[in-house]
Structures are given as structure tokens and as C-alpha cells.
Amino acid sequence: MKQRLERATGQHPGDSPIIKTSVRLLVPFVQLFGLYVIVHGHYSPGGGFQGGVALGASFILLALAYDLKTSIRHFSEGANAVLANTGALIYTGVAALCAVMGGLFLDYSALDKLIPLGPIEWRSFGIFLVEVGVGLAVMSIMVSLFWDISSGGEMDEGL
């Protein structure tokens, strides 16, 4: 703990303008790729878990190249908690909505009564909704795992 504090107050070992600039340029593309992986999961390898991990990795990259404070400034703790809950809620909410609309739990074709797209198309679209929920939950949980473990729960100075 003491070592970590000493190191954190002094110059960061990996503190270089090259790394910072390249990470700043790279992060938007990593996030765009993460969104692409989530949305394109029906037609190519990918889906909620993989895209969520890519999105979370962009914030972890930010925390590694700059410091934990910068990453928390871009993605606050409150937003993190809200997104994690929203992700889990989207999944269970879609599943429960299917039951409310008269189908079975998680039977997306029952949502056809809500917006008439056709039961088979709804099964495709329901998978997409669920994947978005999984992606949000995985992204925020990955980021919060990194924050907690790298700073020992203090959320002030990380690696």
C-alpha cells in the first residue's frame, strides 16, 4: 500500500506522450468496434459479451494510459452503476414483458402484439434487444471490476 502511494505521487512509470496520444486517438475506434460487434452479432461472430468486453476495454485502456481519475471522469461511478443495472433490467424486463404479453417467459414472438413485425422477425429482434442489455451490463461490470481491483477499492489511484 505504501509503495503504491509513493509510486502514485511521483512520476508514473509508463507516462509518455506517445502512449497518451495514441490511446486518445485509439479509444473512439475501439468503442465504435465494440458497438459494431454488439449490433452485428446476428450476421458475424460477435454479440453482447464480446462487444461489451471491447467497450469496457476502451475505458480500461484509458485508465492504463492516463490514470484512474481520467477514466472515472469520462465514465462516472454513478453512470457505471446505472448502466450495469439497466443492462440486467433490459434482459429480465424483455423476458418478463413476453410473459405479460401472453407468451411464455423469454418467448419473444409474444411481443408481436405490441408492435406487429411478425413473430419470426420478433424472435430475431428480441435477441438483439437482449444482446444490448448483456453488452451494457458486461461493459460496466468489466470497468468496475478493473477500477476496484486495481485501486484496492479506493477509486483514487490505480495502476
Partner: protein, 129 residues
């Protein structure tokens, strides 16, 4: 001789997974350090994931991403596509392994904060003091 060679070609992947799994098993039961135990568990999980994925392989099979309109028009022969079921199960297993690793690292950090060490016998000594 030819039969034995065929046996080796048909089974050598399972032998590799068994060796990998035993490396993880030895790290889990033989090492004293908690981080080494956790790494052993991760190697063990990797061996199981590889084993499951390899059971779904079909010789000459394509990836399980199909051409929608072609399949809707004329159907598909299941022997031409690798088994998607192990992929799905192992996708969830990978996520569980990440969660387990995260929780284990957090508990280890807490143990280190409490007892100042991650060696098993030293922790036991300090608990009994």
C-alpha cells in the same frame, strides 16, 4: 503400426487437454500461494473450454454462420456445419470464469489487507494467533 498412428491422430488433442488440465490441477493442490492457485484454476478452465470446443468439430465442416436465403430456400446438411452447441456453452463458461477470477482477486486483496500475506501457511498461522 498404421492403426496406432491413426489412434494417435484421432486422440492426440484429448491428450494435450489432459496434460494442460493436470498442470492446472497440480498448481491448485501443490502450490502454497493463493495467486498461483488461482492461475492453476484458470489453466484448468482453459483446458475444459478447449475440450468442449474440440468435441464440436466436424472434419471439413464450415462455420455456424449460414446463408439465410439459401438455407430458407433449400435447407442445410448438418454434417457440413460444425456443432454450435459447445460454442454457446463455452461462451457462457468464459464469462463465468472471468467473474470468478474477479471475485477471487478481490477476496485475495482483502486477505492481503487483513493478514499482509498471500501464503497459505502464513495466513493459517496468523489466524490461529
Amino acid at each position: 503400426m498404421d492403426g496406432m498412428l491413426q489412434e494417435v491422430v484421432a486422440k492426440y488433442n484429448y491428450w494435450i487437454y489432459v496434460v494442460l488440465m493436470m498442470i492446472g490441477f497440480y498448481a491448485m493442490i501443490g502450490k502454497r500461494n493463493l495467486v498461483k492457485k488461482l492461475l492453476g484454476m484458470n489453466i484448468f478452465q482453459t483446458a475444459i473450454i478447449l475440450f468442449f470446443v474440440s468435441t464440436g468439430v466436424k472434419r471439413g465442416g464450415g462455420i455456424p454462420i449460414l446463408d439465410k436465403y439459401k438455407v430458407l430456400a433449400e435447407g442445410i446438411d448438418p454434417t457440413q456445419i460444425v456443432n454450435p452447441l459447445p460454442h454457446v456453452l463455452m461462451l457462457t463458461a468464459i464469462v463465468v470464469s472471468v467473474s470468478v477470477t474477479g471475485v477471487a482477486l478481490a477476496v485475495m486483496q482483502r486477505i492481503h489487507r487483513e493478514y499482509g500475506t498471500l501464503e497459505e501457511d502464513e495466513i493459517l498461522e496468523r489466524i490461529s494467533e
